[in-house]
Symmetry: C2
Subunit: 489 residues, 2 copies
């Protein structure tokens, strides 16, 4: 290591203490260097674990000074490192400092009358949910990684999840931020205000910028009254058009009571049935129509009055749905454990995919009205390119967000060789899907972000004007490229 | 006029046609040059009225080129010119082009299944509400100027209004934008997506930037199902603490059904009673407690089921409120016309103030939990500075937004000389109020924006780091200061 490399490490040790500067030579850095899905492992100069915002600021200032003095160094802010697009792991250079926010893990305040909770960036999402719950409120951000992801990362990537339909994305749940800038300054924007028109909205600029513009160190978040009852229903529909019709009447009848509307293709559900035969899947039978062309819909209703009232609303909805013919059959969970079992089927799809073998994943969004047409058109293009290809199509239909995954044909050359299938077709499949997304006015990244994984795709599919605006902003706020270079833009 | 001045006018005429370049020498420019409240009148080089986005782009490019060639010229984007902070009128220089969006007034598309409406920036807000209504939906942005303000201005200033509690500010209602940049390029970001994590959120950066970063030319907005019933109630409470308690139980019981929670100080209501004696004010009597220390609350409930259901919910709420003792008395409107009459009282407060004489206005927000304490503290400070001063305190309490206006004492030196009162006390009153706002973590502009009026105050009260970040962004996107110089930052 160069002398200036040694110097910066010494400086970092002086800021956070030796036990919080982790080095490959003495510590196991795999949890910081390897991405969540285990696809890549980078090589960090060091992992630094500051204790508070002042230390974050000092670390950034030290790295900035070193970089200005000619050292090739940069900072990768890292939360729970559960991202899916290679945005929070270091590259291979060995010149990146992983700035872990894990020790900034305190709930700073709960203001019941203002319906806000203020937390440090390193708080685990589930811990925030629990703090809110204990105070008698709901913090609705909810996603698969909630047991290990951190709120700073959720905000940095504008996380989505299962409650977006009612409560919005992570950015919609945030009223204020504290951020360390690329100059090492601390912007104290921890506002608990619902209205504040005093200049440009810096909060929304930092949210979703994936650690490339600043380091989020704390946030003030919205709380909501807890619903008195939550009910879950499961419906079988013959097509995406029918699912769309069901969504329309559910939105009208249940309005903001509708907190979830998840769609699952018959083939996606069949994988759960195949690999987890112990799971009871309602309305499931190896019916060729449902398993090949049909869909299941999981609906969730949160009610401010009572369970009885919630049941009446679901019944009234299903009556209309049967009348209109958009639902073949439906069940409403009778208990919490039944409701959990329904969600478990939905959440088991990614796991069933793992059992079935590697596939080509997408996290796309489409204007909701175009989802049936998009799927019909894209399915046909994929079938033409790869006869027999299988689509694991499921997602948050109420948000227009599909996890439209492509699995190799069940027979033929790649049936037993998913890796070979990926090597041969991944690029082509991405092109077909993303071209189709662009044609229907959709997004190539609905909730996962860009990171390093989709950076080239972003440049290809996003308008050049937008890319130019983003680069101007990056250059303005982080002129020497200190934060997370090679990510997003 | 200089030769280069003549040249740019000629160029503008060639872009939009002679009849759409208005000049002071031949046209009445007062509607474009004078601010909504009639306090200042600027002097425009010309008012330009492009027909479409391409013409907006050409106008911006022409001005940019002229400015690069040394002409002192800039652009003031203008919608309905109903702003309250001098953000949309030209300055006195005679060197600013007012870029009126009025002719871009088409509704471009309604997508029922996607719950979106796409409109040009010059659409009058009320026209958008009506288009939505005719299609069977609600577009909830609603404010006093809705008959003449334009959606481009609403987004440029992130307008608030009376439905923020349930539906959010203007920014929360916008999914996508089309913007002409300071380079004259057109960013086509008219997305109808509810999830899109592809880079920095340019939409939220342009929204609320008050025409200083780009010209909004079109937007895709959210639609909502129309509520089946809307009910309005009117409650008398003894204090702001009681109002706060009522808000808490209303949020818990009615959840997102609660669409309005407006608070009105007894003195504010007494002005309506005094100047508009024909208005029937429920629960009003010249009761010294209510008129001096009491408050009225206007609650609105939107229900997705039925009017009967809405009434039951209100009854249940009021029962609890009486039990807790936070409400003295309450009435629920029996008909639409009664509901309108209640809203009319609320909306008459600003008009009653005009009758009573000039006062010192504020548009502030405070964390909701701190409103009672803020008012107690600030009232006391004002009374100390100006004994007998009267507070016209009302606003959107559910959003933490108060229009906290200060009226001269009823007797004494300035009783008949409100102008003299303003000249003597305006600056001091602003200082007292804004210092107090800062102390309670509030905002000096909740929904009106900064414009030219509050620019100095912003520099004083906003954190220097935030100001620096804003200036960096302004410089990055509009390096030569073409758009609305002297506003915001």
């Amino acid at each position: 290591m160069t002398t200036s490399g040694q110097l910066i490490l010494k400086k970092l040790v002086s800021i956070v203490g030796a036990e919080h500067v982790l080095l490959a030579s003495t510590d196991d850095l795999s949890g910081y260097e390897r991405d969540w899905r285990g696809r890549v492992r980078g090589k960090a100069l060091a992992v630094v674990r500051p204790a508070d915002t002042a230390q974050v600021s000092a670390v950034v200032s030290a790295c900035l000074e070193a970089k200005k003095n000619g050292l090739s160094i940069s900072i990768v802010p890292q939360g729970g490192n559960t991202g899916l697009v290679l945005g929070s792991v270091p590259d291979q250079s060995g010149q990146q400092v992983v700035l872990s926010l894990s020790r900034l893990n305190k709930v700073l305040a709960i203001d019941s009358a203002n319906l806000t909770i203020t937390v440090q960036a390193g708080c685990i999402l589930q811990a925030i949910q629990q703090s809110a719950d204990q105070a008698g409120f709901l913090f609705p951000l909810s996603l698969a990684a909630q047991g290990s992801c951190q709120i700073g990362g959720n905000l940095g990537t504008n996380a989505g999840g299962t409650q977006v339909l009612r409560y919005g994305n992570a950015r919609d749940l945030c009223l204020g931020l504290e951020v360390v800038t690329a100059q090492g300054a601390i912007w104290s924007g921890l506002s608990g205000l619902r209205k504040d028109n005093t200049g440009y909205d810096l909060r929304h600029l930092f949210i979703g910028s994936e650690g490339t513009l600043g380091v989020i160190t704390a946030a003030t978040l919205k709380l909501f009254p807890k619903p008195l009852a939550t009910l879950t229903a499961w419906a079988a529909v013959t097509s995406l058009d029918a699912a769309l019709q069901l969504l329309g009447i559910a939105q009208k009848q249940l309005e903001s009571g509708l907190t979830g509307f998840e769609v699952m293709g018959g083939f996606a559900v069949s994988l759960v049935a195949k690999h987890f035969p112990q799971q009871r899947i309602p309305l499931w039978q190896p019916d060729p129509i449902l398993s090949e062309r049909g869909y299941f819909v999981l609906l969730e209703l949160a009610d401010a009055e009572s369970e009885q009232h919630a049941r009446q609303r679901f019944e009234s909805l299903m009556e209309q749905a049967f009348e209109l013919g958009c639902v073949i059959d439906a069940v409403v969970a009778e208990s919490l454990s039944q409701a959990q079992a329904l969600w478990h089927v939905r959440e088991s799809i990614p796991l069933a995919q793992v059992e079935e073998g590697l596939n080509i994943k997408h996290d796309i969004s489409i204007p909701i009205s175009s989802i049936p047409q998009f799927c019909a058109s894209t399915d046909a293009q994929l079938q033409k390119a790869i006869p027999g290809v299988r689509l694991v199509n499921f997602g948050h239909m109420g948000d227009g967000n599909l996890h439209y995954n492509v699995q190799c044909p069940a027979t033929g050359l790649y049936a037993q060789d998913a890796k070979g299938f990926l090597a041969r077709y991944e690029e082509q499949v991405h092109s077909i899907v993303y071209d189709s997304v662009a044609q229907f006015g959709g997004s190539i990244s609905a909730e996962h972000g860009i990171g390093a994984l989709k950076r080239d795709a972003l440049t290809h599919y996003k308008s050049p004007i937008a890319i130019e605006l983003m680069r101007s902003i990056k250059k303005a706020l982080d002129p020497i490229g200190l934060f997370n270079p090679g990510r997003v833009v």
